[in-house]
């Protein structure tokens, strides 16, 4: 490994950094002003690329290759911007009044819909676009060939950065955007048309994403996996840089790209007799960087503490214990669920589906402890699900422990993970908390993915079946129901116990809570540990239910599922996550059977639910009741 090759790889890193920066910049601007965690941001990037590879040959026929190529990029950016504006006007505008994070649910639905729409429009095959005309050659540098297009890409990032900087600091629009980032209500009070401003900002953000996607035309084929893979990168870069800081985003993009280039360049290294392939680290490099940055600088490189939420809704009323009728209904529901194995005589699928619902309920309820009473949205709750599942699977297969003991091992594993990661996470707030939990989940995922000897690598562990008497569908189901009910009772007790009260106090006003002598971080740490522990129980049950476990159980997708369940059900009710978990499991089971475009259909259904019940199913049902 010569110094020159390292240096050359560093130059390569600048081109990759520009790509990362362009996705992240749009996300950062949108979040800064509208506070929307735009899950569909990667979809706009993907659309930009698809539009560009479609437009380029068509425009090329009319105007010649060069004009066609650059025209296609411009066209793709403009179309995605227009689409973004449309989405903002038709969809997001209706739900700004909903509690924060509910927009996340809407944009997640949008992600599903756009993914299926792209599949329907462009078909499943990858589409490789043309190379950039005039930029197909290379320049010799350090005895190696540096592509012209890389030089162009390396320059375009800083150019966009400078243009955005000028727009944000020197124009009226920029001043309004910065003002809205600081205090939206004040901007509105000064007579600025917020609606137009939000639409413009959303269009700008999605347009930049589309532009970034279109620019990749020369480097990668348009494919359907881009939306999710880019989304993760974008979040990471925005958070490392500090929310709302454009230059922070550029620096973060550079940092991530250079770390990856370095891992690639080093290749196989030998340290003290151990050989390690550094290129394998590229799988998780960005999340490692994010974890380190957030632990050292809780608001990212250039971030400042978030200004308080601009739209304050009504204060949430304290949670009320169940009344007599409530208790009766809970008992009735419990009896119904306990009777499911009897239904199994008619349809033996019933206990199978019910088992998935019960496990999902415990998963969602444990996440809800953090999100609801804790006010801390975890984007990486799957980590504890996975730790529980892997701990259980390892104990049951390799160690050969009996079923209850194996589950115990899983719970302890998850608990240990939650205690460890929780200690770091609870120091942070808001999106930074969410992102640090995500980073830890990704790190756990990559360990499970790569530690072949213990976790079985990407294929996972097999043969995790429960012993008698849990080996029948009904037996395992009843055991899972018992564990879940126990967990739910514990969670409920906890929320009404002093710890729960302290947790809620810290959520509603951290300052006052601290002034009253509540050790906020300790309380949150304890809640985090409890949530992780119960989530681990859900994971352990999952392993036994499926007979196998793979890293997919720790993936971002599962964490998002958890968020969607809690939000769909409603954050403000202890019943919410149960409704959400049951509802989502049922919905998914049904749409997967009904249509080849089930993802889009699921997205439409979620969207309909979000528009109909902007504060979740539980909140919606309550509202229907209270307005006869």
């Amino acid at each position: 490994m010569s110094f020159e090759s390292l240096l050359f790889q560093a130059v390569n890193g600048f081109a990759s950094a520009s790509g990362l920066f362009l996705v992240a910049a749009g996300l950062s601007i949108i979040f800064g002003v509208t506070r929307i965690v735009n899950m569909a941001h990667g979809s706009f990037y993907m659309l930009g690329l698809y539009l560009a590879v479609t437009l380029a040959p068509r425009l090329g026929e009319v105007f010649g290759d060069a004009l066609g190529f650059w025209g296609a990029i411009l066209g793709a950016a403009l179309i995605t911007a227009a689409l973004g504006a449309l989405v903002e006007v038709l969809l997001l505008r209706r739900i700004y009044a909903a509690p924060e994070l509910y927009q996340l649910l809407a944009t997640f639905a949008l992600l599903l819909i756009l993914s299926d729409a792209t599949l329907a429009l462009w078909g499943p095959e990858d589409i490789l676009g043309p190379r950039a005309p005039g930029l197909t050659g290379t320049v010799e540098l350090l005895g190696r060939q540096l592509p012209d297009s890389d030089i162009f890409l390396a320059l375009i990032g800083p150019i966009v950065l400078i243009v955005l900087h000028i727009v944000l600091t020197r124009t009226r629009f920029g001043r309004l955007v910065r003002a809205a980032t600081q205090d939206r209500e004040m901007v509105a009070a000064l007579g600025i048309n917020e609606a137009v401003l939000f639409t413009a900002v959303f269009a700008l953000g999605t347009g930049i994403a589309g532009f970034g996607g279109a620019l990749q035309m020369a480097r990668e084929p348009a494919n359907l996996a881009l939306d999710l893979s880019v989304l993760g990168d974008a979040f990471v870069v925005v958070v490392i840089g500090g929310l709302g800081s454009i230059r922070g985003a550029y620096l973060a993009a550079l940092l991530v790209a250079e770390v990856k280039a370095l891992c690639t360049a080093l290749g196989i290294v030998e340290v003290a007799g151990f050989t390690f392939n550094m290129s394998r680290l590229t799988l998780v490099a960005e999340f490692l960087v994010m974890a380190v940055v957030l632990v050292v600088r809780p608001h990212g490189l250039f971030g400042r503490p978030l200004p308080p939420a601009a739209r304050r809704g009504d204060m949430e009323a304290p949670l009320a214990p169940l009344g007599q009728r409530g208790r009766f209904l809970v008992l009735a529901a419990l009896a119904l669920f306990a009777a499911v194995p009897l239904f199994g005589l008619v349809s033996s699928y019933a206990p199978v589906l019910a088992l998935d619902m019960v496990i999902a309920a415990l998963f969602a309820a444990s996440l809800h402890l953090l999100m609801g009473p804790g006010g801390l949205a975890s984007f990486g709750h799957a980590a504890y699900f996975g730790l529980g599942a892997y701990g259980t699977a390892y104990a049951a297969t390799v160690l050969g422990l009996p079923t209850p003991l194996a589950l115990g091992v899983g719970i302890i594993t998850a608990s240990a993970g939650a205690v460890l990661f929780g200690w770091f996470c609870v120091r942070l707030e808001g999106v930074y908390f969410a992102m640090l939990t995500l980073a830890f989940a990704q790190i756990v995922w990559s360990i499970a993915h790569q530690w072949e000897e213990v976790t079985g690598g990407s294929n996972g562990l097999f043969g995790v079946w429960p012993d008698a008497p849990f080996d029948s569908a009904g037996g395992l189901y009843l055991a899972a129901l018992a564990v879940t009910v126990l967990g739910l009772v514990l969670l409920r007790r906890l929320v009404f116990a002093p710890l729960g009260l302290a947790l809620r106090a810290a959520r509603d006003s951290r300052l006052r809570a601290e002034a009253s002598g509540i050790a906020v971080e300790k309380v949150r740490w304890l809640a985090f540990a409890v949530a992780g522990t119960l989530c681990g129980a859900a994971g352990g049950l999952f392993a036994f239910a499926k007979g196998s476990i793979s890293p997919e159980a720790i993936s971002v997708g599962r964490s998002i599922d958890g968020l969607v369940m809690v939000l769909l059900g409603g954050v403000h009710s202890l019943m919410g996550p149960l409704l959400g978990a049951g509802g989502l499991t049922l919905l998914q089971d049904m749409v997967m059977r009904e249509s080849p475009f089930w993802r889009g259909l699921l997205g439409l259904l979620i969207l309909a639910l979000v528009l109909a019940f902007p504060s979740g199913l539980a909140g919606g049902l309550r509202r229907v009741r209270s307005t006869p």
Binding site: S2, S5, N12, S16, V37, P99, P124, E125, I127, L128, R131, P147, P221, A225, S229, A261, A265, G267, S279, R280, L306, P308, G313, D314, M315, E316, A317, A320, G326, A332, F337, F343, V346, S348, Y349, A350, V352, L353, A354, D356, M357, G375, E429, H449, G457, S458, N459, G460, K546, G547, I549, E552, V571, G582, L586, R593, W598, R599, L621, R622
Partner: protein
């Protein structure tokens, strides 16, 4: 993320919520309708149609074509075949639920399908547990038939090991000393790289592996990877990348002239699914495994090709072959077993001879692997698209280890 505010609770809030919950639960418990009178043989098929659309759309077409042919000829055992297809969600958790649903609600007689290795392994585990016959169509992992192989699971497509072994004669013939390897960082890539190193080292002890790049699946940073390989100055490269990663890598390597003068062998790159998107940029001179549908002279394939084109007005991909051969295998196995009983099916499949589009092949009794082969050829560009020149069919049986060796590789099944 910050405290959530909402409208105050009303005083007695729970009735409707509870009612809805009960309704939702009741919905789940609706019993399945009883089956019709025709009594077809039900084939339960599950696959990652959404997650792997490019490969599985042609696969579905291949299956439907074979199904029509079988049923037009009077079905099997006097009964028509019925295909019940489901999306497995692309992950093992959903796949196991869907497979259980196929077995319990749809009352299918056997299971088939799956694409992703971890999904295939999870369904195989379920098949073993429930003692149900399972023909894995697409997953490549060696574990499916070896380390985690079980009595009820068979596999159609040539495994990772077989695909690598097919390329080995060309790799050895090239007689290069300095090899670099680039592979997607998950089990398929890792085991392909490992097998390649072991086999090549055995055939050519003086070989040296100068670089190994493990790239995240679907997210390769192609420029730095191509550069790092070029910097190691290999005289040959073994590539395991496919799909979008392959396209990115090829383009960067072309632009940087990173692989000029380097001999490349590459897994799966000749399959139309992965070769066609490259169009005129297909890397000339790479030795690949794949499916050159345009230059196969086997009569059985010609018949398949004509029927496929007539039915869909499109050329087949490798997925079409897999789908088609899957149904043909099941029809042959059911006919031989004379029953849909899982135990009888397992016995019938051990040593089962099937006439596939690539000619006859066998399901080995020792490891339940089909001896379907693949084509090995050299990439070239013709009329603006990549093709395989001088493809040679390598029979799967010729690259598989002997029955005695396999016995040691299948601890779980013994």
């Amino acid at each position: 993320m910050r405290p959530q505010k909402a409208a105050p609770f009303p005083s007695v809030p729970l009735l409707r919520r509870r009612a809805a919950l009960i309704a939702l639960a009741a919905l789940a418990l609706l019993p399945a309708l009883p089956a019709g009178a025709a009594e077809p043989i039900r084939i339960g098929e599950l696959n990652s149609y959404k997650a792997q659309a490019a490969f599985l759309d042609p696969y579905r077409k291949g299956m439907e074509l074979a199904l029509k042919q079988v049923n037009d000829a009077g079905g099997v055992l006097g009964r028509p075949l019925e295909l019940i297809s489901r999306d497995d969600g692309g992950n093992p958790g959903d796949a196991v639920r869907v497979a259980t649903e196929l077995l319990t609600r749809d009352k299918v007689d056997l299971l088939t399908g799956t694409f992703l290795s971890h999904v295939g392994l999870a369904v195989a585990e379920l098949a073993k547990r429930r003692k149900v016959f399972f023909l894995a169509a697409e997953p490549l992992t060696d574990k499916l038939t070896w380390a985690d192989g079980n009595r009820y699971t068979f596999r159609l497509r040539p495994s990772t090991y077989m695909q690598v072994a097919m390329l080995m004669p060309e790799a050895v013939k090239a007689n290069r000393k300095r090899w670099a390897i680039v592979y997607p960082n998950y089990e398929y890539g890792q085991s392909a790289a490992q097998t390649f190193k072991t086999l090549l080292k055995a055939a050519q002890p003086d070989v040296e592996f100068v670089a190994e790049q493990a790239t995240p699946l679907g997210k390769i940073d192609a420029g730095p990877v191509a550069q790092a390989i070029a910097d190691a100055k290999p005289d040959a490269v073994f590539n395991v990348l496919f799909a979008a990663d392959l396209a990115r890598f090829v383009r960067e390597a072309n632009t940087r002239k990173a692989l000029d003068g380097t001999f490349v062998v590459s897994l799966l790159s000749g399959e139309p699914e992965y070769l066609d998107p490259l169009k005129e940029e297909a890397p000339i001179g790479w030795v690949v495994t794949g499916y050159p549908w345009y230059s196969i002279t086997i009569p059985a394939h010609q018949a398949f090709l004509d029927a496929y084109r007539a039915a869909y007005n499109d050329y087949p991909r490798l997925g079409s072959i897999v789908g088609y051969a899957t149904i043909k295998s099941l029809a042959a196995g059911l006919a031989k077993a004379g029953s849909t009983d899982s135990e009888k099916l397992v016995e019938a499949f051990e040593g089962l001879e099937v006439d596939g589009p690539f000619g006859p092949f066998t399901y080995r009794a020792s490891d339940h692997q089909a001896t379907v082969g693949a084509f090995v050829g050299t990439l070239a560009v013709k009329h603006g698209r990549g093709i395989m020149l001088d493809p040679v069919y390598v029979d799967g049986a010729s690259v598989l280890p002997s029955d005695a060796e396999v016995l040691k590789l299948r601890p779980a099944a013994n």
